[in-house]
């Protein structure tokens, strides 16, 4: 069996954490060939070649593949599909955009957000916002899947696979990129950070999110938010942790003013240590927290920030 794994490449740079975790998951399925796609991705391909367990790297560089537009990216992947039993990608928004398109073009049912690989046909994935875990067996000839990487350990960086440049598909002329609005931040990236500090509706306003950010900076942490906080406009959408946002599994997760809806828990329950600060002692977040503190966050967070480090 052979796996084509689509690397997570953003603006020419490899997201090593997501890709290396997906390689370690996909390694159970067979030899892993990594595909890097982008307007410029030679650097990303060279980096992917260092991931342990990668047999080969394919590098498709072309302007049409910039910004990971779904239509040309899917055409490219489908043109390569014949050589592989499995086509997989870390479950980023890019992959969620592209991979179902690939699956449909190959007449296979996609298997989204795989959390465990049982065997070459059988996979576990969360359903109902993480309220249930389903094991499904695919009868399709080619398995197309996205991998929820948070639960897998990253493969090491001691490899030296060969890198092969490949051609790009013709521009289908269906869509074009206009602009990205990416928040510039010196903080660690949310999905790969060792520490995450998240705020919920209890924080109360966009201004008061500065408290969460202050604690995060003290801990060299990424900042997250519950869906309620994002919907209320306290935090931007790319901070959302949960079933429909980002799934994280840091060494330390600090949940501040978050009640702990199952939707949120699905996005952070694999964290090693969970701390919850909430003034409502009945909040469900305390049922998953290793350390719970019933307190007003406006007192507790500044005190915690000053007493750490």
């Amino acid at each position: 069996m052979a796996v084509l794994l689509i690397a997570d490449v953003n603006a020419g740079e490899l997201s090593v954490d997501a890709t290396a975790k997906a390689v370690s998951a996909a390694g159970a399925l067979g030899d892993v060939t990594v595909l890097c796609v982008g307007a410029n991705c030679k650097g990303a391909a060279d980096e992917a070649a260092k991931i342990d367990g990668v047999a080969k790297v394919l590098c498709a560089e072309d302007a049409v593949l910039g910004h990971q537009m779904a239509e040309p990216a899917a055409d490219l992947i489908v043109s390569l599909a014949g050589d592989y039993s499995h086509i997989a990608a870390p479950g980023t928004t890019d992959a969620k955009n592209i991979m179902p398109r690939v699956a449909a073009l190959l007449d296979t049912q996609i298997i989204s957000e795989v959390t465990a690989i049982v065997d070459g046909d059988t996979f576990e994935r969360p359903i109902y916002a993480g309220n249930a875990i389903q094991t499904v067996k695919s009868g399709d000839a080619t398995k197309v899947m996205t991998i929820r990487t948070a639960g897998f350990d990253a493969a090491g960086m001691g490899g030296s696979a060969s890198v092969e440049a490949i051609g790009a598909p013709a521009d289908p002329g269906l869509s074009s990129w206009v602009e990205d609005k990416v928040a510039e931040s010196d903080r660690p990236e949310l999905t790969s950070a060792g520490v995450v500090v998240s705020g919920g509706r209890g924080v109360g306003s966009e201004e008061d999110f500065a408290l969460i950010e202050g604690l995060a900076d003290k801990l060299n942490a990424a900042v997250g938010a519950s869906r309620a906080a994002v919907d209320s406009g306290y935090a931007p959408n790319d901070w959302q942790v949960g079933q429909t946002g980002k799934v994280v599994a840091p060494d330390l997760y600090v949940a501040v003013g978050i009640s702990g809806a199952i939707q949120h828990l699905a996005g952070m329950k694999d964290s090693k240590i969970i701390v919850a600060i909430n003034k409502d002692e009945e909040a469900p977040i305390f049922q998953v927290a290793d350390f719970g503190l019933v307190a007003d966050l406006f007192d507790a967070v500044p005190e915690l920030t000053s007493k750490l480090g």
């Binding site: 179902p100 398109r101 059988t122 269906l174 994002v230 329950k269």
Partner: protein
């Protein structure tokens, strides 16, 4: 322009999900069912396009059990003009997979020739996040997923998408498939007069065979289980105690 909006009947988002004791799935017997929340946002957006004069007809479609006609009546009460129900299952526990739904929707698109398909980005039951993208692939159309802003202008649309890094704006050629995210709009509630009016709006009933589609699943469910529970830890009495515990655990 005609807008097609696929909607799914799913367990109501407020209902506590229970896994069946035999591990065959989630218990849906005698459970409150509603329109998938993401699909409600898609219906709302379609109606707003009509109100803005950019669409002239909104057609709601559902694929599933016969009871999904209630979900379609909700869409009609919100303001959709007519509805198509494709009865593809007898048992509510039999979920029709995104690939089969996309094939059926392709058949409907071929007949109806809409200029835009607006759908929810994912259903809150199987969480596949796939039907819109799959339909787009089968039609060879453009796609814009996870939309938080949609601006249709003639033969193209500018769509802002919620992506991992923040927001991305793309321009797609029409006809197109747009899948919508949570923050696109706030769906309206149907008023009582509109609920009454919806009962008289046309609702056609079809089967997968009408579109030449075999809706049998590609995935076999081996088992369904509760997620592993995380055991609760300890409550601390003060920030000092919390700092001490975190230091003991080597977390800070």
């Amino acid at each position: 322009m005609k807008v097609l909006v696929p909607v799914k009947r799913v367990i109501d988002y407020n209902v506590k999900v229970r896994v069946k004791a035999d591990g065959s799935g989630v218990d849906l017997a005698n459970v409150k069912m509603s329109m998938n929340p993401f699909d409600e946002i898609a219906v709302e957006e379609a109606i707003r396009l009509k109100e803005a004069g950019k669409a002239d007809e909104v057609v709601a479609v559902s694929v599933g059990v016969k009871q999904a006609q209630e979900t379609l009546r909700t869409a009609l009460a919100m303001g959709a003009d007519r509805a198509i129900l494709v009865v593809a299952a007898d048992d509510v526990h039999n979920d029709i997979e995104p690939l089969a739904v996309a094939k059926i929707l392709k058949g409907i698109v071929d007949e109806e020739q809409p200029g835009l398909v607006l759908c929810g980005k994912q259903a809150i039951d199987n969480d596949m996040n796939a039907t819109g993208q799959m339909l787009s692939a089968l039609l060879g159309w453009s796609q814009a997923t996870f939309a938080s802003e949609v601006d249709v202008d003639g033969d193209s649309a500018v769509v802002t998408r919620e992506v991992d890094g923040g927001l991305q704006t793309i321009k797609v050629k029409m006809p197109s498939i747009v899948t919508v995210d949570l923050r696109l709009n706030e769906p309206r509630y149907a008023s009582l007069p509109n609920i009454m009016k919806a009962k008289k709006k046309p609702l056609d009933e079809k089967t997968p065979a009408d579109y030449g589609v075999d809706a049998s699943p590609r995935l076999t469910v081996v088992s369904t289980k509760e997620p592993e529970a995380r055991s609760a830890g300890i409550m601390v009495g003060s920030v000092d105690e919390l700092v001490e515990k975190l230091k003991e655990a080597g977390a800070v």
